[in-house]
Symmetry: C2
Subunit: 296 residues, 2 copies
């Protein structure tokens, strides 16, 4: 096998960390993004800059798509015409959170030109991405996992292989986002209620993180509220979108999801009230009659 060449489309918070992790591992890695600053940063870190997606896909044997949503996947891969320039036998790794049915449709279209796909949503956040320590929930043919292995090893602490079919990776991500969204909305509901009852919010955090009511999201997000710091690490509008995906997917298979629906309404409320671009913990701002912590 001749020397492999990697590509990352989308050098945002996640994609930049992943691309740099591959460079650190000595992999030839091409990046592209609409933001010239991101390209400069990547070049300074030893990456190769493609002038557009067409150039990138004509170079790369393994292409990570780290764009925001299905609309961007569609635009970058198909509307742009890049699809026609991808090398036969290349692997496209779709990392965006998309509906399982959309992941299936991308796989079918790529297969027509003998391009392999991994349906491979990611989680872990920007810090873990910069450390090459994200989690990848992937499904696709074994050949695609094999061809992409060095790249996956470079970016991920853990790669779950969830089956051969596109859709399984995205399905698992949907399950995770369902829980993540419900748990953030529940953390907000519980903390706001505690404040309403006159409890000290710092005490609520201390007790709950040591009790059966704890969740990963409660432990992670409540400190933002206690510090009165709503700088978006992940924004309210991301969960408006991700719970859209959860609920659209659920409807498609006639699956009732009342907790997801209730959480979705809370994020929509927060977005409508003007907090859409704040940290997702700002969903607590929808509750009336409470004084939120002022921070220190």
């Amino acid at each position: 096998m001749s020397k492999q060449c990697y590509g990352v489309v989308g050098l945002g918070a996640m994609g930049m960390g992943m691309a740099q992790s591959m460079v650190k591992e000595g992999l030839e890695t091409w990046g592209c993004d609409l933001n010239p600053k991101a390209l400069e940063t990547f070049k300074a870190a030893g990456g190769k800059v493609a002038k557009d997606v067409h150039e990138l896909v004509s170079k790369a044997d393994v292409i990570f798509l780290v764009v925001v949503n299905a609309e961007q996947v569609e635009a970058v891969l198909f509307t742009s015409g890049a699809f026609e320039k991808i090398k036969a036998g290349a692997v496209v790794i779709v990392c965006s959170t998309v509906k399982p049915e959309y992941a299936e449709s991308v796989g079918e279209r790529l297969a027509k030109r003998n391009i392999l796909m991994l349906d491979a949503p990611i989680s872990g956040g920007a810090v873990k991405a910069s450390q090459g320590q994200i989690t990848v929930m992937a499904s696709g043919p074994q050949e695609a996992f094999d061809k992409a292995q060095k790249g996956l090893d470079a970016v991920a602490a853990k790669v779950y292989c969830l089956g051969k079919e596109a859709g399984k990776g995205s399905g698992m991500k949907v399950v995770n986002q369902l829980l993540a969204g419900v748990h953030i909305a529940a953390a907000a509901e519980a903390l706001a209620f505690g404040i309403r009852m006159g409890l000290d919010p710092e005490k609520v955090y201390e007790v709950i993180t040591n009790a059966a009511g704890n969740s990963w999201m409660f432990e992670n997000r409540v400190p933002h509220i206690l510090a009165n710091d709503y700088t978006p690490l992940s924004a309210v509008d991301i969960f408006v979108k991700d719970l859209n995906i959860v609920l659209d997917t659920a409807r498609k298979v006639s699956f009732p999801a009342p907790l997801s629906a209730a959480a979705h309404q809370q994020f929509i409320h927060a977005s409508g009230a003007g907090f859409g671009r704040e940290d997702d913990s700002a969903v607590i701002k929808v509750f009336p009659g409470i004084k939120l912590p002022k921070g220190k």
Copy 2:
């Protein structure tokens, strides 16, 4: 100070472990319960058996009430007339999950006879109770904490002091039960949805417990579902009751709690469908169109 004497009213799963933990620490501990078998077990473990609550309260300086709900607290303490027999200066520790306003009312009535109260809901389950390792979320006057200290040390790994006023302990428990109930219902919704999408439920457990969607309850309860074992450790009907308390308390202070309300409906559905006495993870049985794991 003369030798203190302890009492435990209610030798069920939690109370028995707590009473035995005090016996192990060398504290003189009296127990009473309506179930003669529980009394035999406690006697065999070195405990002293009171013939009724009247005898118990006439002996004990510190009385743990470990009964199921507010109705039982009311019956045991007041309707029975035991209230009149409690020693002046004694401490009554109410461990049941009750509404904060009810805890306040008990405290006010006890204060009329100079009896101290700790509003002290517990968590941790039967195993931790038997090891003297429960968590106590308590509020009340410092004098009550001081007088009860040896008993609290014997039963608890951690005692949170949440303020002087009755109601704060119960308020914290309400916050915990809100999260616990929502998280169990969310775990069921997420796992059932994963199964509906064709994901392997064992894989869902593996991925989610290592991802941001995890919760204490997901990690603890999903194994019951995977094992097809709905032997009640805590039953569906407990969460029907506890979310009743959450929502009644919320209504009282005009606090909207949409996720709690959605979770409550799921537990009510499960109870109405005949699963009320099964493990609370049986709330997953409300979802249509899925095949639950058969266990091994």
